[in-house]
Amino acid sequence: MEKPKKCKVLLVDDEDIFREATARQLAVRGFAVQTANCGEAALELVRNDPPEVVVLDQEMPGMHGSETFINIKRINPLVEVIMLTGNTSVDNAIHLMQQGTFDYLMKPINIDELLYKIEDAHTRKQLNEKKRPDNAA
């Protein structure tokens, strides 16, 4: 399997400390990281400067994670989305996986696990693009 190239990740979370710390860790590991602190800002980025993988917090004030996810997919169906959530909303997580989120991680996250999921999501995206060249972003 070809090695994933430097992957463009968008990290969406309203908790400033978590978002900035995680973004730094991802950047250190060679990802090109963008951040957004709310759903609206995330959609703006997806429209204008589409990422390959979005890491999206479920619990956000304003536009909720689930809603943000659906809008991201509407704008660009090939972007892969990984949801971050607490342990009590499994139902919702599974529902969203049925809708097409790539995967889901529980907070507090293990950074390596997040890293692997991003890599896997990136590989998946590349494979999907090749399968459907007309849809590629």
Binding site: M1, N87, T88, V90, D91, D112, Y116, L127
Partner: protein, 879 residues
């Protein structure tokens, strides 16, 4: 699975070698390659999810042993993690074989619904009264009044003993209080934020929550109901009443869980101050001790409703605690009365010495023992409000705190209460200064333990040179060793190392959170009736109290052995004494959180789909998450094998391994398993990029096989007998089953299905830098000898694998071994072991009846493996 794997491999291999297969146009090949890559990616994700599920299931099983505390958040996380990963596997399977296994989703949803129902279950409060007078309470009202007050209701209303007037503010009131102004939501949020780091955040969370409760307004309906109940109490007592305000939490006094001293009680409270103390008691549900205790005993926060009991204060001349039996010895049915001057609080808090009277159950209630102590202090009601510690004064301190008549009266009460409850009781009582009568303040189940008597084999004289201290009160039996850690101030709690021996001056309830983390407890003061002793017994932690000068004699970091039963402390670890100690109690078993996990696990862990060959091996028959994962794992491997066959995909077909000579090893490259594209029919070792396969091969080829072991007569008979039934087993007769081995590889993945001689083995390995996803699976079955000997070999191999860190189970003559989550280097070492064993356990079934031979091979194999792991063998000779 083994046979199927081999069959599939053979089919695919023969197809791949078919000479007249038409070549595909190149764009079709490219499309197929892409589809294959996509499937293989899903297959990898599926295997990672499978590994994660197996890990979580192992965590759940460990938790269900009940020795380690876990919280509701563990239960939620474990089941959520299983659900999500099972769903992940279903999705990946759908990607590998679209439309083939739709029934899996149906089963998944059904199982998930059952688990959700278990997790969402909440206790409904049956009675909505906010306040209930004591005269209306009975013990079946635990869920509305809490254990303490409900039990006291029985003592008053069914046993008709002396109990002060009073009332309880109920569970319904608790719910109302917490739901007013969103208090409960805020509490939940603070817990959620603290999350898994609860231990470190405990102090902060506790004080934040208590502050919230104390500064909240008491809802008006509660206020009005309390005022009414208090007026009724005044009428009953004929005037102004001071009150004892005590916690009566639901779950507090249940059997096997004492919540001893975890919550606040306030004595001698004026009504004008009542609501302040009411909130203090409510807030004590979230004291540091109480939160730690709840977590270590498996109570959910929402399971505990803080009911608050209010009793007319009994100003006591003397008071104390009765144990209706010996808590340290089930066979001793004497009644133990602990007593002191003043309020019983002094006995319960464990900070003063108290008298002990032991009464026999004979008709005369004979006092069989009396220990009268120097009671320098007593606790009494203060004139203004609250209590004070006061010197008892010369002449009184050394006097018995009870007359013989009072002792017998108490013993009689004790027997009546015990007979009523039909179980040993722990009873708090007081002798009123006003009317001299005895009042019962509390009665709850008493925990009893087995007394241990050292056997003759334990020669205590041998350890006398290391004896540090002798004498003291056996507050909780058992023997344990650990390093001394002295605790004098609250801040020391934070430093307390897991497994240390807690040494304190006073046996205060404040130290209770440390008990669960301690190996043993030593206190200079305190008796076995105190809270700390109760907690130690509950947790099965040995405790020795009344050890004079312990703080001075022992130094932090000293390794000591505490033998509570013997009243001795030794320097160092005394192994024979430790072996003699009582097994650990299974603390979590039976707790609400444990029960929920247990029920949830029944939808996760049992494996019903055992045999892939069976007609029942169908998605519709998946009854648990384990069934689903097992089914998917099996089918996904098959789908990966059959891909080439279904698509006449010769590019993906197998190559024969050329290792000096062409060998009976066939290799199917799944993705990036070869260094480069291979044109011919052979692949050489140096052309293989599969990390796990190379490690396996290194172990396989490192040390030459000595050939079959010398067989004894019986071994030979055994194989000859089986050969007459199965011609495939006859040595020398060429069989299509003989020595055929199939690898399926990618750079970080490899499966092997192999038949060497007469046994079958399969190996599956995922090894990369992602250590959390790494795993090894190894299965082994069969042999030429009789069942007994085959079984012997299977156990022989299991023993070796376990020695090197595998988890292995044997079912009939199937060995199933796994390991996961280790670093790459470690995993590769383990693969070498599997390679080595695959070759060197050949025909070892023959010698399994012969103990010296078995020992010889065990020694040889482990010696070889150790040197292999130490890197002393390069690849030498072909197999």
């Amino acid at each position: 699975m083994l046979k199927r794997l081999a069959d599939l491999s053979r089919k695919i291999l023969s197809l791949g070698r078919e000479p007249d297969l038409p070549a595909l146009p190149s764009e079709q090949v490219e499309a197929l390659q892409l589809t294959f890559k996509s499937r293989y990616h899903s297959f990898k994700l599926l295997l990672a999810a499978n590994t994660r599920i197996l890990e979580v299931m192992a965590d759940i099983e460990r938790a269900l042993q009940g020795n380690e505390p876990f919280s509701m958040s563990f239960v939620q996380t474990a089941s959520a993690s299983t659900s999500v990963n099972v769903f992940r596997m279903i999705k990946d399977m759908e990607n590998i074989a679209p439309g083939r296994y739709d029934a899996l989703r149906v089963r998944f949803t059904a199982i998930q619904r059952e688990i959700d129902a278990l997790l969402a279950r909440k206790k409904e409060i049956s009675d909505q009264r906010l306040v209930v007078p004591l005269s209306d309470l009975t013990s079946d009202m635990v869920d509305i009044a809490g254990g303490k007050m409900a039990n006291l209701g029985d003592v008053k209303n069914r046993l008709h003993l002396n109990v002060p007037a009073g009332f309880v503010i109920t569970a319904a009131a608790h719910e109302l209080f917490m739901n007013t102004n969103g208090l409960q939501k805020e509490v939940d949020r603070l817990f959620q934020v603290a999350g898994s780091d609860m231990d470190r955040n405990l102090d902060l969370v506790s004080s934040q929550i208590r502050q919230l409760i104390i500064s909240a307004d008491v809802p008006e309906p509660i206020y009005l109901a309390v005022v009414e109940a208090y007026q009724e109490m005044r009428r009953e007592c004929g005037g102004e009443v001071r009150m004892a305000v005590r916690s009566s939490a639901y779950g507090e006094d249940a059997e096997n869980s004492s919540f001893a001293g975890q919550y606040r009680s306030e004595l001698n409270v004026k009504f004008s101050q009542f609501f302040y103390y009411y909130k203090q008691v409510m807030a004590s549900k979230y004291s540091v001790q109480a939160i730690a205790y709840k977590q270590s005993r498996g109570f959910r926060d929402e399971d505990i409703a803080m009911c608050v009991g209010c009793l007319a204060m009994v100003e006591a001349i003397a008071g104390g605690v009765i144990y209706t039996r010996n808590p340290l010895d089930r066979r001793d049915d004497n009644i133990f009365i602990n007593a002191t001057w003043g309020l019983p609080k002094a006995v319960v808090d464990g900070d003063v010495l108290c008298d002990l009277f032991v009464v026999s159950r004979d008709d005369d209630l004979t006092i069989v023992a009396r220990e009268v102590r120097e009671k320098d202090f007593q606790i009494i009601c203060y004139e203004g409000e609250g209590c004070i510690r006061q010197e008892t004064g010369a002449g009184v301190a050394s006097q018995p705190s009870l007359t013989d008549e009072q002792i017998r009266e108490l013993a009689d009460l004790a027997i009546r209460i015990e007979q009523y409850y039909e179980t040993p009781q722990d009873i708090e009582w007081a002798v009123s200064a006003e009317d001299g009568r005895i009042y019962i303040l509390q009665s709850r189940p008493l925990q009893q333990m087995e007394l241990m008597v050292p056997g003759e084999e334990l020669d205590l004289r041998r350890y006398e040179p290391s004896l540090v201290s002798e004498g003291g009160i056996n507050a909780s039996p058992g023997v344990a060793s650990g390093n001394v850690f002295k605790v004098a101030k609250k801040v020391d709690i934070l430093q307390f190392p897991e497994g240390a021996v807690l040494v304190v001056e006073q046996a205060l309830p404040t130290w209770a959170p440390l008990v669960a983390r301690a190996a043993a407890v030593i206190s200079e003061q305190g008796g076995f009736a105190g809270h700390l002793a109760n907690v130690a017994r509950e947790f099965g932690i040995p405790a020795l109290f009344g050890v004079t000068g312990a703080m001075a004699k022992l130094n932090n970091g000293d390794r000591v052995t505490v033998a509570a039963d013997l009243g001795r402390v030794y320097l160092g670890s005394i192994a024979p004494l430790l072996e003699w100690k009582r097994p650990e109690t299974r603390l979590m078993v039976g707790s609400p959180v444990y029960e929920i996990l247990h029920e949830v696990s029944r939808h996760i862990i049992p494996l019903n789909l055992l045999d892939p060959e069976s007609r029942d091996f169908q998605p519709e028959n998946c009854r648990t998450f384990h069934d689903i994962t097992r089914f998917i794992h099996e089918k996904s491997v098959q789908e990966m094998f059959s891909f080439g066959k279904d698509h006449h995909f010769s590019e993906r077909s197998s190559k024969q391994l050329h290792y000096r000579v062409p060998m009976n090893w066939w290799i199917l490259n799944l993705d990036d398993g070869f260094v480069d594209e291979i044109k011919g029919k052979y692949v050489r070792l140096e052309e293989i990029a599969s990390v796990p396969m190379l490690a396996f091969w290194e172990g396989f080829a490192a040390i030459p096989w000595d050939g079959p072991p010398a067989m004894d007569g019986k071994g030979m008979t055994s194989i000859m007998f089986r050969s007459t039934m199965n011609t495939a087993l006859v040595p020398g007769v060429k069989s299509k089953y003989a020595d055929r081995n199939y690898f399926m590889i990618s750079k970080n993945f490899c499966t092997l299905s192999s038949r060497l001689g007469y046994h079958f083995s399969t190996m599956e390995a995922m090894v990369s830098e992602r250590s959390v996803e790494n795993y090894l699976g190894f299965k082994f079955k069969g042999g030429a000898a009789d069942f007994e000997r085959c079984l012997g070999r299977v156990h022989f191999i299991r023993e070796i694998l376990e020695r090197y860190g595998f988890r292995a189970v044997v079912n009939a003559d199937n060995l199933d071994a796994r390991m996961e989550g280790h670093e790459m280097d470690y995993m590769l070492g383990r693969l070498k072991i599997l390679g080595y064993l695959t070759l060197h356990t050949r025909q070892l079934d023959m010698i399994m009846g012969n103990t010296p031979m078995v020992n010889y091979y065990m020694t040889k194999l482990t010696r070889d493996i150790d040197s292999l792991l130490a890197g002393r063998h390069a690849c030498q000779i072909t197999a």
